[in-house]
């Protein structure tokens, strides 16, 4: 168990170098000079330009710049934002809870809806309920997030007026962040109605973000469930005289979930990518929106830091999934 953990942690090292390398060089391929961007429309004279270049280290060869950056990262320094001049890590940590909150809600939505839908489709295989759930999930899977999010806003917020259009909380309330998670902060605060407001702000972004993972999970659950239902041990379980519901929920689902858990882990990466779009559309103050804004301003340290942190996050989640896998699947547990 411990050996496995260390091996997996060891895998993170090459991935780390890969990510820094990619991010560092790729953003420098985007046209646009950060110093000119900062200078704005008035521009900057040559002497000042050279001075600024030296200040940010842009006069150095790019390899040297990369190693400087790496050295910083090793010391826990992700650099300072060109725009706000604040340390990247500090900004990241301020905005991160909003993204985590949204992602957790998104994945919860996806799992809570996707798994039962998949099970339902599997046990009613070939009947209308199966066709319905599978076409809904295929539609969900094929829907571009930004378009789906706009549709949701147009229908539920604009036409029906059921939910707010954007943001995390109504302007009527002011909540001092304690945990950074709005649902928790509003719940423990004294402001009446703040929690409901936060919840209502949560709904549409959650749905928009969770739809694709939900569709993937539903399809995966269905096919995995169908396979398991054909197994001999399911017949044996029925031969014991167990109620059908117990056969499905205990004997079949437990086995069917093994591949689904892997998929859920992979979906976390998709979710974070989706968060960038979702946050932008819903003006959600999280790292997705933050990175998009940083890109527009060629704020190199912010982009690098943000993406590096997301990469770590995805790796961390996958590690957790692998550990979980061992808990669910005894065959893997005992191999170690």
């Amino acid at each position: 168990m411990l050996g496995f953990l260390f091996r997996r942690l060891g895998d993170i090292i090459p991935t780390f170098f890969g990510v820094t390398l990619l991010v560092f060089f790729l953003i420098r391929l985007i046209p646009g000079d950060p110093i000119l961007m900062m200078a704005g429309e008035r521009g900057v004279d040559a002497a000042r330009y050279a001075e600024l270049q030296a200040q940010y280290g842009f006069d150095q060869p790019i390899i040297v710049q990369y190693f400087d950056y790496l050295m910083g990262v090793f010391q826990g320094d992700l650099g300072k934002s060109f725009v706000t001049k604040k340390p990247v890590i500090e900004e990241f940590l301020t905005l991160f809870p909003a993204t985590v909150e949204l992602s957790i809600m998104g994945i919860l939505f996806a799992v809570i809806l996707g798994v039962p839908l998949g099970v339902l489709a599997a046990i009613h295989r070939g009947k209308w309920i199966d066709h319905l759930t599978m076409s809904v999930s295929l539609t969900g899977y094929s829907m571009p997030i930004f378009w789906w999010a706009l549709l949701l806003i147009m229908f539920f917020s604009t036409t029906l007026g059921w939910t707010p259009v954007s943001g995390r909380l109504s302007v009527l309330y002011y909540i001092q962040p304690t945990t950074g998670f709005m649902l928790i902060d509003t719940l423990i605060s004294d402001e009446k109605g703040a929690f409901i407001s936060a919840l209502r702000h949560m709904i549409l972004p959650t749905v928009a973000l969770g739809t694709i993972p939900m569709a993937v999970i539903a399809r995966m659950t269905r096919s995995s469930m169908l396979e398991v239902l054909g197994e001999e041990y399911i017949r044996v379980a029925r031969a014991k005289g167990l109620a059908p519901i117990r056969v499905i929920m205990v004997h079949a689902l437990r086995n069917a979930l093994i591949p689904v858990i892997t998929v859920i882990g992979l979906q976390v990466g998709v979710l974070l990518a989706g968060a960038i779009l979702t946050e932008t559309i819903f003006s959600w103050p999280g790292i997705g929106k933050w990175i998009i804004e940083a890109m527009n301003r060629r704020d190199y340290p912010t982009i690098q830091g943000g993406i590096l942190m997301i990469a770590f996050l995805v790796m961390g989640v996958n590690l957790i999934v692998d550990l979980l896998y061992g808990i669910v699947n005894p065959r893997i547990r005992h191999k170690r």
């Binding site: 031969a239 014991k240 004997h251 437990r254 065959r331």
Partner: protein, 337 residues
Amino acid sequence: MALLEVKNLTVEFGSEDKPFRAVDSVSYSVDRGEVLGIVGESGSGKSVSSLAVMGLIDFPGRVTADALTFDGQDLLGMPAKRRREITGKDIAMIFQDPMSALNPCFTVEAQIMEALKVHEGGTKKQRRERTLELLNQVGIPDPKSRMTAYPHQLSGGMSQRIVIAMAIACKPRLLIADEPTTALDVTIQAQIIDLLLKLQEDSDMGLILITHDLALVSEAANRIQVMYAGQLFESGPADSIFAAPRHPYTQALLEALPERSEGHDRLRTIPGVVPGQYDRPTGCLLAPRCRYANESCITARPEVRDFNGRDVRCFYPLNDQGQPTGLTADMATGENV
């Protein structure tokens, strides 16, 4: 009254208007303390008929019978919930492949205790004690440590013992063993059969032993039922069937036994395969493979009839010398197809 009474059991799959009969009007009965051997090649409907008895045939399969009673209770007419109370408690079944019969996600203990919990209740402690007792009974060495083992940690023979323990957990009155030794090593096979027969004797259970191993049923069964392509071909007491088969198919099966091929260069076989859904003969289902078949066998389908105290489905059942009877003189002379 017999423990299990099956009359004209039919199991159909496929569409209403063009159904495929996997089991075709099969009748048999099993009594307390009796061992019934059901033999036949693969695809002869042995397993499907016993699944029907267990109530495990799913839609789109259709089960019909003139009578399907257990201890006088009509199994087909009763509500599903009541039937589940019988299934797994009074009637239990052992399946062919022990390695896939156990759920890989649960421990041995959990899987045995589950049946006990559903049918007998009791405290967890009682169930655990009973499980330990069962594992002892089926001859598992060091049962205490096996309780918490997962199926992938067990060998095939061990798994089959666990499966048997699971089946006899609630002291069933009828046990159906569907090819319980097919997936096992030859050395283990005998042990498992001995175990099954011992359990059967000790508790006076009825036992249905489904197999394609004739040598096995000859030793174990009181009565034998020979099935072919979903139909009953011959049934009667085990020793008399072995002494003098009445059906040409039974005769051919017996001749195919290696020990009966002594003095021959090759093992004798039955040419062809069991007809499936799409290649059913119009007449007797065996006709294309039967060495005695003639014109009437190809055009008409024989019914089961009594012949010298044996149920036989053949126009020309065999006499003690193994020669077909009832053939008219001209048919007997060379009109064999």
